[in-house]
């Protein structure tokens, strides 16, 4: 019983990491930028969702609004910052690192803006779903309807974006624009516009993550920061480029944490995350699902 409970606990937190990792992979796949502002974008979208719920008293109304807001926010960040940054720094080592540093700056900026508007205290953003585990006979498992929603959202994001990337013209354009923007341009693809759609997609995925994860804890300007770390570890484990890899990376991490918590102790769990990451990267430097050949091969 303890084993199954631990596994379920791992799956519920693993799904949270997976969802965060998916959002990171989506930005990476469509823009080749590791977006550290992702967490604050997701939190801001969640605050918008929170506001809508306060006014309408309906979580299910707030969810699509938060997602649309997340997409618009992602797209605006690209238009207002990233586009100009890419224009200014075109070549040399700085061209690869500058956007990443800029997203770190944006992380702080967005969090401060959230603090100014909503304050820094903890808010409660809840769904109508129960956070209490399902009961079988007289045993309550550590897996609630709320957890089920997270798992379903993860699966949905994975399937929707997996299909878009693999089977649609837009997905092909997104992949081409991120791998080789210059060649994509010469093939007639409007790279700027396509990238912007990539930012919107990633923003939407982050908003989904924020909206379904936050009800399991509290909402504050940096409530997703720790999750960003776990999500990033999961994404790197999965190869940073693979949607399926991100989900599996998240589950490995979540289940790993749960078992370590159960059988070793709470003091080492966070360390264990990095330990798992190092082991995975030592064995498979390109991540669990990374491509055999690097992008410059």
């Amino acid at each position: 019983m303890i084993f199954i409970d631990t596994l379920l606990l791992g799956i519920s937190s693993g799904a949270i990491y997976s969802l965060m990792a998916l959002a990171l992979v989506l930005v990476w796949r469509s823009t080749r930028v590791v977006n550290f502002a992702q967490a604050s974008q997701a939190v801001l979208s969640t605050y918008v969702g929170y506001e809508i719920t306060m006014r309408t008293h309906n979580y299910w109304v707030s969810l699509p609004v938060a997602i649309l807001f997340g997409a618009a926010l992602g797209s605006s960040i690209d238009l207002l910052f990233m586009f100009y940054l890419a224009k200014k720094v075109r070549s040399g080592p700085i061209a690869e690192i500058a956007p990443v540093i800029a997203t770190l700056g944006l992380l702080g900026l967005l969090q401060s803006i959230i603090g100014l508007i909503w304050g820094n205290s903890f808010l409660q953003y809840s769904t109508p779903l129960s956070g209490k585990g399902f009961t079988f006979g007289n045993h309550t498992v550590p897996f609630s309807p709320q957890n089920l929603l997270i798992v379903l959202a993860t699966a949905l994001v994975l399937i929707v974006f997996g299909v878009v990337f693999k089977f649609t013209n837009l997905g092909l354009a997104l992949r081409a624009a991120s791998f080789q923007p210059e060649i994509a341009q010469l093939a007639g693809i409007r790279v700027g516009r396509i990238r912007n759609i990539g930012w919107a997609f990633a923003g939407a995925a982050g908003a989904v993550a924020g909206a379904v994860i936050t009800p399991t804890s509290v909402l504050s300007p940096n409530s997703l920061d720790l999750l960003l770390v776990s999500g990033f570890i999961a994404a790197v484990m999965g190869g940073l480029d693979s949607l399926v890899g991100a989900v599996i990376g998240g589950l490995v991490l979540g289940i790993g944490f749960a078992f370590i918590l159960q059988y070793v102790g709470s003091s080492v769990t966070f360390l264990a995350g990095f330990f798992i990451l190092v082991i995975v990267l030592l064995i498979r430097p390109r991540g669990l699902f990374g491509h055999q050949l690097g992008r410059h091969a």
Binding site: L172, R175, A176, Q185, L186, A187, G188, I189, V191, A297
Partner: protein, 238 residues
């Protein structure tokens, strides 16, 4: 005459270097013009300026009377000007199939995209056997074929070819040049062919432009240039 490509007094910088100085020439439909000259003569920069990748300093370039200035590469592709850049311009992470599809993504006429795809595969049948493979698993020659095939899916009218023979075996080069010949003769494309391999290029081109340190030092029919002994020793070293 404003038909075809008309370049007048074009000057282009490559970084801080003046790579092209005051060059004028034309290329019309059904015509292949070779741009030859040593390494660093400015050949590739010329193509980049014509395909919108670099903005020229001064001068003008028009295609059938339409100015090419201040247009991005993706817009020029829509005008029928397609640049096959140096070094096998394919996306290694995508499959052959996907690379080919890229050339037609922006086009509305999906029927003609399929037709163009079939034509491209007829021109390079080897690609038809590799459709599901990733482009980085192809040989150098196959990658070059894929780059040209992808360009053809866009139904170009002017093809800007940058060193298609670079690093390829003679037999493969022949195959690629045969294909270019076909595109000019059968489909009536205008082709601007940049080559270091001057003799091979002049053998299939109608005319040649000789660049040296960014200046147009000589131009004429291919036969003329091939027979010019001074030119050989002075600029081409063969």
């Amino acid at each position: 005459m404003s038909d075809g490509l008309v370049v007048e007094n074009l000057t282009v910088n490559y970084g801080a270097i003046r790579a092209i100085r005051n060059i004028s020439f034309t290329v019309s439909a059904n015509e292949m013009v070779a741009v030859i000259g040593a390494n660093g003569a400015g050949k590739s920069t010329l193509l980049k300026a014509l395909s919108g990748m670099i903005a020229p300093v001064s001068g003008s370039a028009t295609w059938n009377g339409i100015s090419l200035q201040k247009k991005r590469p993706e817009e020029l592709v829509r005008l029928g000007i397609v640049h096959v850049s140096e070094g096998k311009s394919v996306i290694p992470e995508l499959t052959v199939d996907e690379n080919l599809a890229l050339g037609g993504l922006w086009r509305r006429d999906k029927l003609d995209v399929s037709a163009a795809l079939r034509d491209s595969l007829n021109l390079f049948p080897i690609l038809a056997t590799r459709l599901a493979q990733r482009a980085d698993s192809l040989s150098g020659g196959e990658r070059q074929m894929l780059a040209i095939a992808r360009a053809l899916v866009s139904r170009p009218k002017l093809l800007l070819m940058d060193e298609p023979s670079l690093g390829l075996a003679p037999m493969i080069i022949d195959q690629i040049f045969d294909a270019l010949n076909h595109l000019r003769n059968q489909l009536g494309l205008a082709i601007l062919l940049v080559e270091q391999n001057a003799v091979s290029a002049l053998k299939i081109a109608d005319r040649g432009l000789v660049l040296n340190l960014g200046e147009l030092v000589k131009s004429g029919s291919s036969i003329e240039l091939l027979g010019d002994a001074d030119l050989r020793t002075a600029y081409l070293g063969f």
